[in-house]
C-alpha cells in the first residue's frame, strides 16, 4: 500500500501547463469574459484549491494561470516590489508549472500580477494587470450579507457608501479610507480596487491595459476593460485627493511616486524609498540619485540581481 501511495503521489509531479486543467481554465476564462462585458460586476466562479493558501493570492494566481501563454512574460509584485517573499514564491510557481519568461521590468512584462500596488510606469494596451483581491465586495463592511449586497448592486443602491464617507468627514474632517478606496466604474458599479493605496486609484482611470481582479477564497472575478472611466467616490466640497509625500525617494529622488518608510534605527531615524522597486532601479540606472544613494550601494543591488 505504501508503494501504491508513493506511485500516486509520484504521479502528482505531472501537471498541466500553468497548473490548472484546461476545463478549469475555460471556466475561469468565461468568468473573465463576462467580467469584461460587465465592467466591475463581480462574477461568481468555482474557485479551485490552489497549492498556496487562501489569502495569499489564489484568485490572482488562478486568473494568471488561465490567461498566461507560452509567449508571455510575467512580472509579479507584492507591495510594489518584485523581491518580497510572496512575490518571489508566486513567480517561482509559474516558472515551475508554466516555464514562462519572467521579468522584474514593468515595461517588458505582458502579464503583471500584483498585490497592493499598481506600477508607477504607465501601462500599455499590450499588458494585463492581474490583481489579488482579498475581499471583492466594496459594501462588505457596511453590510456583511452577500444576499443583501448583491441586491444593492443590482439596484445601484450605493447611498450607504456615501453615508459612510460622509460620516468619516463629519468625525475626522477627512475621508478616513486610505486604501481599498471605493471607485465607480463606467458609471455603473461601485468596485473595490483591492487594497491598493488610494494613491494608485487615478492610474485605473482610462488605463490602456486590461485590469483583471481575482478573489479566490471569495470566489469572484471582476474586470475593468481598457480605457474605462474609473472615478474615486467623493463629494463636491471634499474632492478625492491622493497622498503626497513631503520628501522625494532617498535613493532615486523621484517625486510623485508612492514611498515606503524604512526605519533606520531605534531613535526615530527613517528614510523614504520608492515602493515600486523596478521604477526606482530604472531611475537610478538613468543617473538619478537621492540623498542616501551611494555609488557602492547601488552596485551591490545590481550585483545581487
Amino acid at each position: 500500500m505504501t508503494g501504491q501511495a508513493q506511485d500516486i503521489a509520484g504521479g502528482m509531479a505531472a501537471y498541466n501547463f500553468a497548473y490548472l486543467d484546461e476545463q478549469t481554465k475555460r471556466m475561469i476564462r468565461r468568468a473573465i469574459l463576462k467580467g469584461i462585458a460587465i465592467p466591475a460586476y463581480q462574477v461568481p466562479f468555482a474557485s479551485r484549491e490552489m497549492p498556496m493558501p487562501y489569502g495569499w493570492g489564489t484568485g490572482g494566481v488562478q486568473v494568471t494561470a488561465s490567461i498566461i501563454g507560452r509567449d508571455d512574460t510575467l512580472k509579479v509584485i507584492d507591495q510594489g516590489a518584485d523581491d518580497t517573499t510572496n512575490a518571489v514564491s508566486i513567480r517561482a510557481f509559474f516558472q515551475k508549472v508554466a516555464d514562462v519568461a519572467v521579468t522584474t521590468r514593468t515595461r517588458e512584462a505582458s502579464v503583471i500580477q500584483t498585490r497592493h500596488r499598481i506600477p508607477e510606469e504607465p501601462l500599455t494596451v499590450s499588458q494585463v494587470l492581474v490583481y489579488q483581491v482579498p475581499i471583492p465586495e466594496p459594501l462588505r463592511f457596511l453590510e456583511p450579507r452577500e444576499t443583501e449586497t448583491r441586491k444593492m448592486h443590482a439596484l445601484e443602491e450605493y447611498g450607504l457608501m456615501h453615508v459612510k464617507l460622509y460620516e468619516d468627514i463629519a468625525r475626522h474632517g477627512h475621508i478616513a479610507t486610505t486604501y481599498a478606496y471605493p471607485v465607480l466604474v463606467d458609471d455603473r458599479y461601485v468596485m473595490d480596487p483591492s487594497p491598493t493605496p488610494k494613491f494608485d486609484n487615478p492610474k485605473m482611470d482610462m488605463c490602456p491595459a486590461l485590469q483583471l481582479f481575482g478573489a479566490g477564497r471569495e470566489k469572484r472575478i471582476y474586470a475593468i476593460p481598457p480605457y474605462t472611466r474609473v472615478v474615486s467616490l467623493d463629494f463636491e466640497d471634499h474632492p478625492f485627493e491622493v497622498q503626497r509625500f513631503e520628501e522625494p525617494c532617498a535613493l532615486c529622488a523621484a517625486r510623485d511616486v508612492y514611498l515606503d518608510e524604512v526605519i533606520l534605527d531605534d531613535k526615530g531615524g527613517r528614510m523614504f524609498v520608492c515602493s515600486d522597486t523596478d521604477h526606482c532601479e530604472e531611475r537610478r540606472a538613468a543617473g538619478n540619485r537621492g540623498h542616501l544613494a551611494a555609488e557602492e550601494a547601488y552596485a551591490t543591488t545590481e550585483a545581487a540581481q
Binding site: 500500500m1 505504501t2 501511495a5 500516486i8 503521489a9 502528482m12 501537471y15 486543467d21 461568481p44 468555482a46 474557485s47 479551485r48 484549491e49 490552489m50 497549492p51 493558501p53 487562501y54 489569502g55 495569499w56 489564489t58 507584492d78 507591495q79 523581491d83 518580497t84 517573499t85 510572496n86 512575490a87 518571489v88 514564491s89 517561482a92 498585490r115 497592493h116 482579498p134 456583511p144 450579507r145 452577500e146 444576499t147 474632517g173 477627512h174 478616513a176 486610505t178 486604501y179 491598493t196 493605496p197 477564497r217 497622498q243 532617498a250 535613493l251 508612492y258 515606503d260 518608510e261 524604512v262 533606520l264 528614510m271 524609498v273 515602493s275 542616501l292 550601494a297 543591488t301 540581481q305
Partner: protein, 377 residues
C-alpha cells in the same frame, strides 16, 4: 546607508530546508511509515480525509506526516491534490442502511432490532493515562462476534413507519431522489441561499471544531432544536458507479463512514401535523463528534423550512457556511503575516496628518486661552 533587501529566494529555500530537517527530527530514530499512521493514528487520518473530501488513507497519512501532524495543513495538502484529479462521474448514493456496521447506537430506544453495538469507542473508558502504551506491550486480540450479515434496521425507518418523523429522500426514504445530480461546491460557485445538498457538502468538509462549537451553541439555547440521537452508525458501505456503457452499476469498493441521524422536535403547524424532524450528518471514516455536530447544525440551518425564527448564529446559513471551511479560514487569518506595509504607510500618513491637525487646534485654543487671560489681567 540603505541597500534594498534581495534575499527572498534564498531565504525561502533555506526556510524549507530547515522545515524538512525539523520534520524528520532525530535521525537516530526510524522515520514514521505511512502504514503506521494509517494503522495507529487512524482517526487523524480519517479527519484529514473527511475535511479534504478525499477518501485515500495512505495519501492522507502522507499529508499528516508532511504536515508534521498539523491537521489543517494536512487537510490543505490533500485538498490541493484532490482539486487536480479528473472527475469520472458521480457514484450512486451510498446505502447506509446496508452498512456492515462496526458500531451502531441509538439513544431513543433501549433496545431495537440488531441491538446496541458499541464497537471501538472511547465512550466509558476512564481517561487515565496508560503507561503501558508508552512501550510496545502485547495487546489482546479483539473479541468479535459472528453476525448474520443482515443489515441493521435504521431507527429513523422505525419512526417513519408510524409517519411520526418527516420522510427522507432517496434510498430508505419514501420520496424518490431528485433527478438532477447533487451539487458540488468544489466545481460550482457558491451562491446564497443554498440548496440542502450543497449545504450538507459544505458541512461535511467543514471544520470539526467550528461545527462542534456551533452544535454546542444550539444545545445551550442559541437556536435550540431539542435533539435526540436517533442513531449513530459507523462501518463500511459499498460505493457503486453507474457505467453507461455497461448499463449497470459496478462496485468500486467500500469506504468507512460515520452517519448520525438526529431526531428533533417540531410542533407542527396549521397545515402540517406534529412530527419529528431530522438533522443529518455523514462523514468519511470514524468521527462521531463531527457527524453529530454536523447533524445538529444541519437541523439548525433548516429553520426556514419549519418556519422557525432565525436568530442564532447556527441558524444563519451565510454565517455558518462562509466560515466553516478551515482551509479558507486559516489562509485568510494567516495571510495577515504577509507584508502589508504599503497600506500601513497610507494609514500612518493619515494618522500623522490628523494628529498634526489635532495638535495645531490644541495649540491654537491654548493661545486663545492665554490671550483672553492676559486680556483679563
Amino acid at each position: 546607508m540603505y541597500v534594498a533587501v534581495k534575499g527572498g529566494e534564498a531565504a525561502i529555500a533555506n526556510a524549507h530546508k530547515l522545515l524538512g530537517d525539523r520534520r524528520r527530527g532525530n535521525r537516530d530514530l526510524p522515520s514514521i511509515t505511512l502504514d503506521q499512521l494509517v494503522g495507529q493514528l487512524s482517526l487523524a487520518v480519517d479527519r484529514v480525509m473527511a475535511e479534504a473530501s478525499l477518501y485515500a488513507p495512505h495519501l492522507a497519512a502522507l499529508a499528516v506526516k508532511q504536515a508534521r501532524g498539523d491537521m489543517i495543513e494536512a487537510i490543505f495538502l490533500l485538498r490541493a491534490y484532490r482539486t487536480t484529479l479528473p472527475r469520472f462521474g458521480a457514484s450512486r448514493p451510498v446505502e447506509t442502511g446496508e452498512m456492515v456496521a462496526e458500531r451502531r447506537v441509538s439513544a431513543t430506544f433501549k433496545d431495537l432490532p440488531g441491538g446496541q453495538v458499541l464497537g471501538p469507542t472511547f465512550d466509558y473508558t476512564h481517561r487515565l493515562l496508560d503507561p503501558e502504551l508508552a512501550g510496545d506491550g502485547e495487546v489482546e486480540a479483539a473479541l468479535l462476534s459472528e453476525t448474520d450479515g443482515e443489515p441493521l434496521m435504521r431507527v429513523t425507518d422505525i419512526l417513519a413507519h408510524e409517519d411520526i418523523i418527516e420522510s427522507s429522500r432517496g434510498a430508505g426514504g419514501d420520496t424518490p431522489l431528485p433527478e438532477e445530480p447533487s451539487g458540488d461546491l468544489t466545481r460550482e460557485p457558491l451562491e446564497f441561499p443554498m440548496q440542502r445538498d450543497q449545504r450538507l457538502q459544505a458541512l461535511a468538509r467543514g471544520d470539526e471544531g467550528f461545527l462542534l462549537s456551533l452544535g454546542y451553541s444550539t444545545q445551550r439555547g442559541y437556536g435550540r432544536t431539542h435533539p435526540f440521537v436517533g442513531e449513530i452508525r459507523m462501518g463500511e458501505v459499498e460505493v457503486e458507479l453507474d457505467v453507461p456503457e455497461l448499463g449497470f452499476a459496478v462496485s468500486l469498493g467500500t469506504i468507512k463512514v460515520t452517519e448520525c441521524q438526529m431526531v428533533t422536535q417540531f410542533a407542527g403547524s396549521a397545515k402540517a401535523p406534529p412530527q419529528f424532524t431530522r438533522g443529518y450528518g455523514l462523514v468519511f471514516g470514524q468521527s462521531e463528534r463531527k457527524a453529530m455536530s454536523m447533524a445538529l447544525v444541519d437541523r439548525a440551518l433548516r429553520a426556514d423550512e419549519f418556519g422557525e425564527d432565525r436568530l442564532a448564529p447556527a441558524q444563519d446559513e451565510e454565517f455558518v457556511i462562509s466560515h466553516s471551511d478551515n482551509v479558507q479560514a486559516t489562509g485568510f487569518v494567516e495571510h495577515l503575516k504577509l507584508p502589508h506595509y504599503v497600506d500601513f504607510q497610507a494609514e500612518l500618513d493619515l494618522v500623522r496628518r490628523m494628529r498634526g491637525e489635532f495638535e495645531a487646534r490644541e495649540a491654537a485654543s491654548l493661545e486663545t486661552d492665554n490671550a483672553s487671560r492676559e486680556a483679563a489681567e
